[in-house]
């Protein structure tokens, strides 16, 4: 199974699923103007409503980022902002609708003319394509192009980096080796996907999956014209099926898009395509980016990870700037996974750790309520169906460490004088290291002596992601962060808690939870087509995880972002926890 962590390893950005409203996610600070004044600008206005609605076309959108895309190849990209930007040039059979709030989580037919026909056994999905859909070179987009695009997901040996979900659903035994090793003359050898004609595409699932459509909404499921596929190099000039096509890509420096003349608005229910051109500039200096944002020479930070400390101060102290800022829940949870390394294999010792941790110090380490987010209370973020904002089993919201309870737990655990353990943090994450230090300090208060082991975040899959290595090195607590690739409870929690999701490398079920009850609940949820019922299962899973004291939730992350007042149609898209880039326009037409 693929993991999210590349995303976090890279920048602490999450390909987040959405959130409900600021009221739930926001601190008191962000509540006040929360759901206010649809249309008008204002602090957090974009979280719940569209700021400066407009249909005015023209102008150039100046996007900036403090880091480059991992890849522009739809199959290889994994950063949230890259998925978000993919909406400019990659259409899929279905895509998230362009609406603020919860509606953003809904899928709408995109290349598909309508909702798919789903067989009674929930194993066969059939889509009909729209008419008049074309690539940027004018050639029509056929079902074969879509199939080929999807096949590329199988070629993870050549196209590394992206998520690899679909094989799990369509070809669990990986009998298909991907288009590059395909013996079929048309390179369309994937059996479980068929294209009876250019307008029809059919998927045969190995087992039912409530999340299948979400998988089809990922950039990797977009169409790719086989004759233009250059394998690993495709990301240097991807074809476009959307309203914009690449004009130029300078790795590490910039990317720019112009209108795709062959895109027909009539065929696209989602995209507005207001600006004539879109430029993305990559800077090496985040502070520089901030000062350009505040000066209005940059429109938006596509990273959407929040401004630096310096700009934060400026921004919050000046009402005129503050009204152009939003503080959305970026949608992923920072937490510490507590492993099975003795004595932590004893639940009471795990509880001791959780009670001893100082919630405020940890929050501060990540930047405080605004920059870091609210103190985490459970392993299901507020914004996933099934979560309960008031569910706080370890009473963390009050913000103080609970030394007595911790000591109590220690005694029960048979370690009244505490014990030694190792905390890991990624050395390329300054804040994570600081958090580890904070944890170390508060554990000391109850007699637990912690050693911090920093490691190269790039090697996560093989260091903390390898259960064997974790045992060998005796890692007791692993600082991590997580967000789902698609907005459902299983999409979020299954990799973290399902006993069947423990690979030798790239494991994210850090506590190695092996609870049949949890596994069973996931299966039930997957078969459940009614979201509300599914939500009920997820709620139970969350409870079980917390009762097992497997994880110490730290914060549910937020980011303080600034939007240039000249931007129109600004709103946070709940799927990404970011501004919906494709909707943006510029008021002054420049």
């Amino acid at each position: 199974m693929a993991s999210k962590t590349r995303v976090m390893a890279a920048a602490g950005i999450a390909a987040a699923l959405g959130l409900t409203t600021a009221a739930c996610g926001g601190s008191s600070d962000s509540d006040d103007k929360g759901g206010a004044s649809g249309g008008a600008a204002g602090y957090n206005a974009a979280v719940t409503s569209v700021v400066n609605p407009s249909t005015a076309k023209g102008g150039t959108l100046n996007l900036w980022s403090s880091q480059d895309a991992d890849s522009w190849d739809p199959v290889r990209g994994y950063y949230a902002f890259v998925w978000n930007l993919n909406r400019l040039y990659t259409r899929k059979l279905v895509d998230y609708s362009a609406l603020p709030g919860k509606d953003g989580l809904k899928l709408t037919p995109d290349l598909a003319a309508a909702e798919p026909e789903i067989s009674a056994d929930k194993l066969t999905y059939t889509f009909k394509l729209r008419d008049g859909i074309k690539f940027d070179d004018g050639s029509p987009i056929t079902s074969k192009d879509i199939k080929y695009g999807i096949e590329r997901v199988w070629a993870s040996d050549v196209l590394s980096g992206g998520p690899v979900y679909l094989p799990g659903v369509l070809d669990p035994d990986k009998t298909y080796k991907g288009p590059y090793k395909d013996t079929d003359p048309n390179k369309l050898g994937l059996k479980s996907v068929t294209t009876p004609d250019d307008k029809t595409i059919t998927f045969k699932l190995a087992k039912p999956s409530g999340d299948f459509l979400y998988l089809l909404a990922m950039p990797g499921s977009g169409p790719v014209p086989q004759k233009r596929d250059t394998g690993a190099q495709y990301g240097k000039k991807p074809a476009s099926s959307g309203p914009y096509m690449f004009k130029d890509i300078q790795p590490g420096k910039s990317a720019s898009w112009v209108r795709n003349p062959n895109w027909d608005p009539a065929t696209d229910p989602i995209r507005k395509a207001l600006p004539d051109a879109i430029n993305l500039t990559i800077t090496t200096n985040a502070d520089d980016l901030d000062s350009r944002l505040l000066a209005g020479t940059a429109d938006l930070d596509v990273g959407q990870v929040g401004v630096q400390a310096a700009a934060r101060t400026k921004l919050l102290s000046d009402p005129n700037l503050k009204k152009n800022a939003d503080n959305p829940v970026s949608g992923f949870l920072r937490y510490a996974g507590i492993t099975q390394v003795a004595p932590l294999n004893n639940i009471e010792c795990r509880k001791a750790v959780i009670y001893a941790a100082d919630p405020t110090a940890l929050q501060a380490a990540f930047g405080g309520p605004l920059a870091a987010g609210d103190i985490g209370t459970s392993m299901l973020p507020d914004n996933i169906a099934g979560s309960d904002a008031n569910y706080d089993p370890f009473n963390r919201k009050q913000g103080k460490p609970q030394v007595d309870k911790a000591k109590e737990a220690l005694t029960k655990c048979g370690q009244p004088n505490g014990f030694n353990l190792t905390i890991t943090a990624r050395n390329n994450r300054a804040q994570e290291v600081k958090a580890a230090e904070a944890l170390q300090a508060s554990l000391k208060a109850v007699g637990i002596t912690a050693k911090i082991d920093q490691y190269d975040g790039a090697q996560q899959a093989s260091i903390t992601g390898s259960p064997d290595n974790v045992k060998k090195k005796g890692y007791g607590i692993i600082m991590a962060a997580w967000a789902a690739d698609y907005p459902t409870g299983s999409g979020y929690m299954q990799p973290l808690s399902d006993s069947r999701f423990i690979p030798a490398n790239g494991n994210y079920n850090l506590p190695e939870i092996k609870d049949p009850a949890i596994d069973e609940l996931f299966d039930k949820a997957n078969l459940e087509s009614d979201p509300t019922k599914a939500a009920e299962y997820y709620k139970q899973i969350n409870t079980k995880i917390m009762e097992g004291a497997y994880y110490l939730p730290v914060v549910s992350a937020k980011a303080l972002n600034y939007r240039n007042p000249r931007l129109t149609n600004v709103y946070i898209h709940d799927t990404f926890g970011q501004v919906d880039f494709q909707a943006l326009g510029v008021s002054d037409g420049k």
């Binding site: 934060r312 110090a361 501060a364 405080g368 904070a438």
Partner: protein, 334 residues
């Protein structure tokens, strides 16, 4: 020279060392051990150098007494004081980085840890790394320099080659690389001290060619000196010549350059910590504090100025003293 532009040692390595040595040797040859007295008299006259020396001693004492001092005037280095921090800005609430009677040097952003104590322990790290690595460089440098200069021939060729090679190395990069791959903790040392030794190893190792070159040069010039010739003609064994004739005459320059390498090492250690391969947390180091300050220096300059200032003062003090010492032992270099 890429141990950062800070490698001010290069100046000394090119200063008229050889001729200076000639004088010195000469003086010695004639005036016997009176050189020590002359030097000491000169040094005493050099107020600036003495001032530097006093500061150095003060810092050493402070470093040694760090635990006591932080008990008396500060808080444990890993004790959090979140109440001192403004949650929204993660900067100290108090003015000037939260400097107060309670926190003499203010508190660390985000955590509220006591900067004063962290500076003291930082001094411990910086100084021990600097001294030990200087010692290592000196031992290696002297041994190989002597060997090269005295034995000459292929030994000289090989050693000189190695020295050139080491100097042709992008050293800072390598220091970073090495430190980041070497083990965090070994033997019975805690992770703090094992890292200190790793740093000592790396810095000391890349430092020895500077001393080595000088010692070699001096040995070569001394070797041809009458008194060495004399004792050789009198059939003295090499060993005797080496230790009775050469080393005493090399003592002065070695002492000077060993002293002058220390500030460079302090800067290097700080640089490595700044680049994130220094002492592991929560143990403080000045360079580490500076790199933390990068995020906040525009809104909480104090947190940058204090560790930066400490580095500056320390290095300056060592330089002043070192220069004074050189001038005292080697008037020509004035």
């Amino acid at each position: 020279m890429s141990l950062g532009p800070e490698a001010s040692i290069k100046e000394e390595s090119t200063a008229p060392a050889a001729d200076a040595a000639d004088d010195r040797g000469g003086e010695k040859a004639i005036a016997g051990r009176s050189l020590k007295q002359i030097a000491w008299r000169r040094l005493k006259k050099d107020r600036v150098a003495i001032a530097g020396g006093i500061v150095v001693i003060f810092l050493i004492v402070v470093a040694i007494l760090a635990p006591v001092l932080s008990k008396l005037f500060g808080h444990p280095i890993d004790e959090y004081h979140i109440d001192q921090i403004d949650p929204t800005f993660s900067t100290p609430i108090g003015k000037f980085g939260g400097i107060s009677r309670e926190f003499l040097f203010g508190v660390e952003p985000t955590s509220g840890r006591d900067v004063f104590s962290r500076i003291l322990y930082g001094a411990q790290t910086s100084l021990s790394v600097a001294f030990l690595s200087a010692l290592l460089s000196t031992i290696l440098g002297t041994t190989f320099g002597l060997a090269a200069g005295f034995l000459g021939g292929w030994v000289d060729a090989v050693i000189s080659r190695i020295m050139d090679f080491l100097l042709a190395f992008p050293q800072l990069l390598f220091a970073i690389a090495l430190v980041s791959v070497l083990p965090d903790s070994f033997l019975f040392f805690g992770d703090r001290w094992s890292r200190v030794f790793v740093l000592v190893g790396v810095i000391g190792f890349f430092g020895w060619p500077y001393i080595g070159r000088i010692v070699r040069g001096q040995t070569l010039s001394l070797r041809e000196r009458e008194f060495v010739e004399a004792s050789r003609s009198m059939g003295a064994r090499s060993g005797r010549i080496l230790f009775k004739e050469l080393l005493p005459n090399l003592a002065a320059p070695i002492l000077v350059y060993a002293t002058l390498i220390i500030p460079t090492n302090i800067l290097t250690e700080a640089a490595l910590s700044f680049l994130g391969v220094g002492i592991p947390p929560p143990n403080p180091s000045w360079g580490g504090m500076l790199s933390d300050a990068v995020t906040f220096y525009s809104i909480d300059p104090m947190y940058m100025i204090i560790p930066g200032g400490m580095i500056f003062i320390t290095v300056l003090a060592f330089n002043l003293f070192g220069d004074g010492l050189r001038d005292a032992l080697d008037p020509k270099a004035r």
